[in-house]
Amino acid sequence: MSAFRYLAQNWPEVGAKLSQHLSMVGAAVLVSLVSGLVLGILFTRPGLKQVGQALVGITGAAQAIPSIAVIALIFAYTGIGARTAIIALSIYGIVPILFNVVSALLLVPAEMLEAAMGVGMTPVQVLLHVELPLAAQSIVTGLRTTVTLDISTATVASVVGAGGLGDIIFVGLSVVRPDMIVAGTLLVAGLAILSDAGLALVQRNVVSRGLVHTP
């Protein structure tokens, strides 16, 4: 297995690429999550629900835009470097989170909200104690999609000089070293699988057992 030999022999350099990749993805996911939550909550408040409904349609379609197009467009404004990649990933990664936050919050039954108000919750308490817990499953699902998407898309960010694991693959491509290409791919895939498994664990803990439908 020449890919593993490559990884073992070049570990310090590979490790640096891995940490670049992680911090790029980490920063982008954080921005996507916070802005996706804030926008999602905002556009599902009374009076803005129509906007939320429209948003579900738009974000649904927006997922068809190729990631490279977003990166190229941001590159035109911010040039070479990790900053371009983080901005592009942040924007691209908002889409699944926003879509899931809005659709899950819109799905909370009106009677449930009325029950919450009827027992004397303030609007903020209704959001924190009823709406978000009921939407948690779907919100974490959106987060998982974004993380997986960002980990693989960050590979492409190598073309704008953002570094990361994409560098190993692209260098391998230019010098025709299949072992490097496979090694880079294995790391990206492994990272995606691990973080998704980690988030699945998080999901199980933030979603109430009362919402898991077991007969």
Binding site: M112, E114, A115, V119, V130, L134
Partner: protein, 362 residues
Amino acid sequence: MPVIELREVTKRYGDKTAVDRLTLTIPDHAVTILLGPSGCGKTTTLKMINRLIEPTSGDIRIDGRSIAAMEPIALRRSIGYVIQETGLFPHYTVEGNIGVVPRLLGWDRKRIRARAEELLELVNLKAVEYLDRYPNELSGGERQRVGVARALAADPGILLMDEPFGAIDPINRRSLQDFFLGLQSDLHRTVVFVTHDIGEAVKLGDNIAIMRDGHLVQMDATHELLEHPADAFVTELLGATRSAEQLLLSRAARYVDTAFVVMSTEQMRRGGGSSGNAPLIVLRDGDTIKGYVEQGQLVTCDDPDEAICAFETVSGNGTLLEVVRTLLESGRKRAIVVDPDGGVLGTLSVPMIVRIMEGGLQ
């Protein structure tokens, strides 16, 4: 405890009037039913009492204080609110659901836990078994009991109930209604109860307010309403249940079988039983009723004591319905109806009551 007064309350949605100049006084310590066909404004009226809906005009007062001047959040926390199944929060356990209002009021965990245990006991659910369950692990009837427990958590004087048993099958609904009546006879809350089920209204209501098209048609004590419907609409709404329910809600004393004689056990043993011509002998030694004996049976028994039948005593002020329920639950054939001083008024059996109803409904 609070009286709720509605004065000239109107709610308009655009040019549609949901509630039209409704004036109604809901007495304290009693169950007042808001009854009417769907769209008559009964639920809108209920929701105006806890300000989930704000009236377009008019005034609602609780204990003389206008609720418009109260803080809506505090008002709602002081009123118990029970709605159909969806009212329980699915992501909270039973304890979490019962503790919702106490948590909002800032009670500590220990006190909430103790209150939840106490309330589960009150609604006949074992605390150890239910505290940690989620609503999707409960039956419909259990969910509704927890819903009532939740509404009672902070000990509110007023309970608003919006078709609470509407989604429950008829058999469980009946047992929930009995449970609710039992609870209310201990707690004496001021209850406003919305339903479109006439049987439920007559069974649970001390008073019934009948609404149509946002107007109040009639508000009266239940028996008054049954006996004197204000107009054709009320008569039609009450329909066939009217006469049947009316009969069953009549006082037992009015219908007792008086063909009986009273004697002591001693007198009967001495052969007094065969001397009278009444078909039934009620045995009483001093103040204690011992049982009754049917003349026919006395003849066939060697030992007169074997002919003494077990019985239930019911108050003459009770309703025929209570007599039927008592007899069906105990499995006894006859009830001895007594007046408040312990005097025997007569006896009643289920077949007799059925005959009375057949006669009355013709």
